[in-house]
């Protein structure tokens, strides 16, 4: 468990280029996995959009896992016991109790992960390169535009990214505030409406 835990958390602290390097080693055309995928399914990962997606996922998912874990840990354990005592299976409890009670935490985790994936530079560049119109992500495009002296496009992209990041930040803050207000009662959105409607 500790080993799995460390592996899942490592991408948060690891420099993205280092993570990208590992992904290249694991998924590259010379690697066991890369060769298997190419021969069996005709799939290549390096320097493709698939590769870009995998790289972005690897740098961002740990953020989601962290938020999800915190959200689940905040659930009152007696609720889970109560559900078991009332005859529900573990799977059922996961969907009918755990997810509804922690959806705010899960949602803010998704947003955090999305923002991190959107902004990734190093890992994506290592795994997917920056093929214009194919694997050039916005973050990489900003760098390339500046290098080529196209400051107008760079500025536009910077504006879009800033706006998106602010939107995500605002969204997370809102979620957290609602979590705080819901506090011990974990009030659902429907419930909030009920309270204010009284």
């Amino acid at each position: 468990m500790d080993v799995a835990d460390a592996l899942l958390t490592l991408p948060i602290v690891l420099p993205p280029t280092v993570l990208g390097y590992y992904l290249l080693v694991i998924l590259g055309r010379q690697s066991v996995l890369g060769r298997f995928l190419e021969q069996q399914f005709g799939v290549t990962i390096v320097f493709t959009q698939t590769g870009a997606v995998i790289a972005a996922m690897c740098v961002s998912i740990p953020f989601f896992i962290q938020s999800a874990r915190t959200a689940f840990a905040g659930i009152d354990e007696s609720l889970l016991h109560a559900a078991r005592l009332l005859g529900r299976t573990e799977w059922n409890i996961f969907f009918s109790v755990m997810i509804p009670l922690s959806w705010r935490g899960l949602t803010s985790g998704v947003m955090l992960a999305f923002a991190r994936a959107l902004g990734d530079f190093g890992a994506t560049l290592m795994v997917a390169g920056s093929i214009p119109g194919k694997t050039e992500t916005m973050s990489i495009a900003i760098y390339n535009c500046l290098m080529n002296g196209d400051e107008r496009t760079a500025g536009l992209l910077v504006a879009i990214m800033t706006f998106l990041s602010l939107a995500v930040l605002y969204g997370i803050k809102r979620m957290e505030k609602k979590m705080g207000r819901g506090g011990s009662r974990h009030a659902s959105r429907k419930h909030q409406k009920n309270i204010s409607g009284i």
Partner: protein, 238 residues
Amino acid sequence: MLRVNIKKTFPEFELDIAFEAGPGVTGILGPSGSGKSLTLECIAGIDKPDEGKIELNGRILFDKEKHMDIKTRHRHTGYMFQHYALFPHLTVKQNLAFGLKGQPKKEIEEKTAAFLKKIKMEGFENRYPAELSGGQKQRVALARTLITEPSCLLLDEPFSALDPDTKELVMEEFLSFLHDHFHGVVLLVTHNMEEADLLCDNVILYRNGKVLQQGPKKEVLKHAVARQDARNPAAIRT
């Protein structure tokens, strides 16, 4: 009939108890930390004893020697938590129906409606737990377990979360409700002697994870009072 004979060892505490409880309310009385709640948890399957056997109405729930350990969800024990553990994201009606999953919709409707009436909470079916008073939450919690027709009822400090002013009234109502709607074994954990006196038929006295005494409440409580007074005369309770 509930037969419990279990052992569970912790670094600084050992639970080692044996008792039998028949129909009616049996109180487990003792100071906090004496293993009362742990006993209930072992019977319900929330916790697991190291050794021993638990048998309810002839059905073995746990037997270390035979490697039997029925899963919590298959034990059909009714359990009421100290703070009720109502699902905060579900309405009163959804809470009541939680243990009826898999039954025909019409039956669920009928049963929840009947129980809402029994606990005098018609009109509250679409409220959320956060909008209820302590006494109402307690009634919903009790109804939520009784609606599943459990084979025994385990109550963990059922009145400790209520404020003292309303407690007495609630206790009387609770008792008459219980007499009307449940006829099996009821185990009630409490550290309050008056509560035990008011609610129980039999009492099991706990201390430090051991059973000190068990029997009809009059006898046990008489001795318990004498013992407590002898140990600490200044602390004669009101």
